[in-house]
């Protein structure tokens, strides 16, 4: 299938090469083409068509096309809007905390310090551990009666907090935990960013009498712009897809206060068995990620002078 498409392409653009290409290339790309068709393009098409239809689970076929009715339902579904709101809380809290935290730590590690590799290794530990283990661990640390976090807070006189059982703060608790997890990741990315800034440029600025703060905001920060934009884009894609932490730490509760968009998709599709509507939510997540990414590029991308 893909072979036909790619051949067609060549006939127009490079006719002179039509006879002189390496047939063996077909063998080299065959596994990729087959896998991509089976596990990416076909399901993607099914997801989009499925959002417009009633979907039978057993036969994996569309029983009846329902037009935009799933989308009408989506727009009028308070549960969906609550999940959007929950994901937005996470988006607003977790991303700035994790990214600014990472920039801050990277800035410290970029100076001449003892045991930099050790610090780097320690900060990165949560990144490699895996979210299931950490979600379970934090679920336990967040316990309100005998959790370690409330105990540590009580030492400085803070009343016990119902981290995962008070509907008004569950999303905040999850965001904090995830920010803790991701700081190490952004630290490493920004450390690479800082180290790519030429030392000569910084020295020249110092000779001109700029102090450290001026150097940071006038030189380092603008030069870091591509790194910052990259991090924000990655963080956005992850933020709107977050599933493991709310699923394991709260199950989406209490009262749906931590049901993120992906968690809603999972519940609708695999607990209520409404595949068509679940697909609609999937498409909505895709659109939200796409639109947010474009807006963010517009907002944060700067030309480097």
């Amino acid at each position: 299938m893909s072979y036909i498409r790619v051949t067609g392409d060549s006939a127009q653009s490079r006719p002179e090469k039509r006879k002189r290409w390496d047939r063996i290339a077909l063998l080299f790309i065959a596994p990729y083409v087959i896998f991509t068709l089976t596990f990416l393009i076909y399901p993607l098409g099914m997801a989009i068509i499925g959002s417009l239809a009633k979907w039978d689970m057993i036969s994996n076929s569309f029983v009846q096309f329902t037009g935009l009715s799933n989308y009408v339902r989506l727009v009028n579904d308070p549960k969906f809007w609550q999940s959007v709101l929950n994901s937005l809380i996470y988006f607003v809290v977790q991303i700035p905390l994790a990214i600014v935290g990472g920039m801050f730590v990277a800035n410290l590690l970029n100076k001449k310090i003892i045991a930099r590799d050790l610090f780097r290794g320690l900060y990165f530990l949560p990144v490699i551990t895996g979210s299931v283990v950490l979600a379970i661990l934090w679920r336990w640390m967040y316990q309100s009666s005998n959790g370690i976090i409330n105990y540590l807070l009580s030492l400085i006189g803070v009343e016990p907090v119902k981290w995962l059982t008070d509907a008004s703060i569950t999303m905040l608790s999850i965001s904090l935990m995830k920010a803790w997890m991701d700081v190490g990741f952004y630290t490493i990315v920004f450390l690479a960013g800082y180290q790519s800034i030429s030392a000569e440029l910084l020295d020249a600025a110092k000779v001109d009498g700029a102090n450290d703060i001026q150097v940071y905001f006038k030189i380092k920060l603008p030069l870091l712009n591509p790194t910052i934009v990259f991090c924000i884009m990655m963080a956005t894609i992850w933020a709107f897809q977050i599933f493991n932490e709310p699923y394991i730490m709260t199950g989406g509760g209490p009262l749906g206060s931590s049901t993120t968009m992906t968690l809603l998709l999972y519940k609708v599709g695999f607990i209520e068995h409404n595949m068509g509507y679940a697909s609609t939510i999937g498409v909505a997540i895709g659109i939200i990620i796409f639109v947010t990414s474009i807006l963010e590029r517009r907002l944060f991308e700067r030309e480097i002078e």
């Binding site: 790619v6 051949t7 060549s10 490079r14 090469k17 039509r18 290409w21 390496d22 063996i24 290339a25 063998l27 080299f28 790309i29 596994p31 990729y32 896998f35 991509t36 596990f39 399901p43 993607l44 099914m46 997801a47 499925g50 994996n60 801050f104 410290l108 310090i113 610090f119 320690l122 900060y123 530990l125 949560p126 490699i128 551990t129 895996g130 979210s131 299931v132 661990l137 336990w140 005998n146 105990y151 803790w180 700081v183 990741f185 990315v189 102090n211 450290d212 703060i213 940071y216 894609i237 992850w238 493991n244 992906t262 599709g269 695999f270 679940a278 697909s279 999937g282 498409v283 997540i285």
Partner: protein
């Protein structure tokens, strides 16, 4: 931040009081951060060795007073740890192997072979990187179901067998291998398959390691997908999936659950200790995480 930065600046050349204070403050911040990174792990490990009474005790002891293996005995007797570990190893191993092989092959074709549509193929590879995986969850599940693969190893490793990012990494590495090597080998009568396995791959081992680490890390920690395809087939579950099922079944046994957490995290942590630098560089490069 402000005060510290100024202090360091002023102290340059002659290490004065401010400079020393600034340094001290900086190390205090760094050490504080390191402690908050580490403390949850300390808590996980120390709890896994505590007796049940001490675990449920209010207020909790920061320094444990008991050190027993009860929780580990309990986990091994109530959860099929070795089978689960083997499942994880098979799924992660297959993912890594297939992914490295298939992605490397595509990259070789894109960089070193002439074929119609290679530019288009590369553009598609890049475009697929942008598609969020959640979008496909439902149809992929139904498809695996209809293929009769639910609850099998292939259900878990096949969807991860190719990835745009691995192709991208391999492509970057292969671009830096001079074409002369390939031309010389061709004159000697070597086939492209021989050149790929015996000449190109050995030249780009660092990239191969990066691809292996990223895919291993990703598939070892993967949760939603293996959880969905092993519903009702507990003996096929991978470590993270089995761990969370275990937690829901033994909700009051926090000590045993923590022991399970330690066992699940242990393999990847040991790898991290050995290959710390490669791990950090690979994962920071990839921007992929569970």
């Amino acid at each position: 931040m402000t005060i510290r930065a100024r202090a360091i600046n002023r102290g340059r050349g002659t290490p004065g009081l401010w400079s020393v204070l600034g340094k001290v403050l900086m190390y205090l911040v760094l050490i504080g951060g390191a402690i908050s990174s580490l403390f949850p792990f300390y808590w996980m490990i120390s709890s896994s060795f505590k007796i049940t009474n001490e675990i449920m005790q209010v207020p909790p002891n920061i320094i444990p007073t008991s050190l027993v293996l009860d929780n580990y005995h309990y986990v091994f007797s109530t959860m099929n740890v070795w089978q689960t570990f083997l499942n994880s190893l098979i799924v992660s191993g297959s993912t890594v192997l297939l992914n490295a092989l298939f992605s490397g092959m595509v990259a070789y074709a894109l960089v070193k072979l002439v074929f119609p549509g290679s530019k288009l193929l590369f553009m598609l590879v890049l475009a697929f990187m942008m598609i969020p995986g959640q979008l496909m969850t439902v149809p992929l599940f139904l498809q695996i179901n209809r293929m009769g693969l639910l609850g099998t190893y292939p259900a878990m490793f096949l969807p991860g067998a190719v990835s745009s990012f691995s192709i991208f990494l391999f492509r970057q590495a292969m671009l830096s291998v001079p074409n002369d090597y390939i031309d010389a080998a061709k004159i000697d009568g070597s086939s492209h398959i021989y050149i790929f396995f015996r000449i190109i791959m050995p030249l780009i081992v660092p990239t191969l390691i990066t691809v292996i680490i990223i895919n291993f890390f990703w598939s070892w920690n993967s949760y939603l997908w293996p959880m969905m395809v092993t519903v009702g087939k507990d003996h096929m579950a991978t470590m993270p999936v089995a761990l969370d099922r275990y937690r829901t079944l033994h909700a009051v046994r926090w000590g045993a659950t923590m022991a399970g957490c330690v066992l699940t995290a242990a393999p990847i942590m040991v790898l991290y200790l050995i290959l710390q630098r490669q791990f950090i560089e690979s994962i920071a490069l990839s921007g992929i995480k569970g």
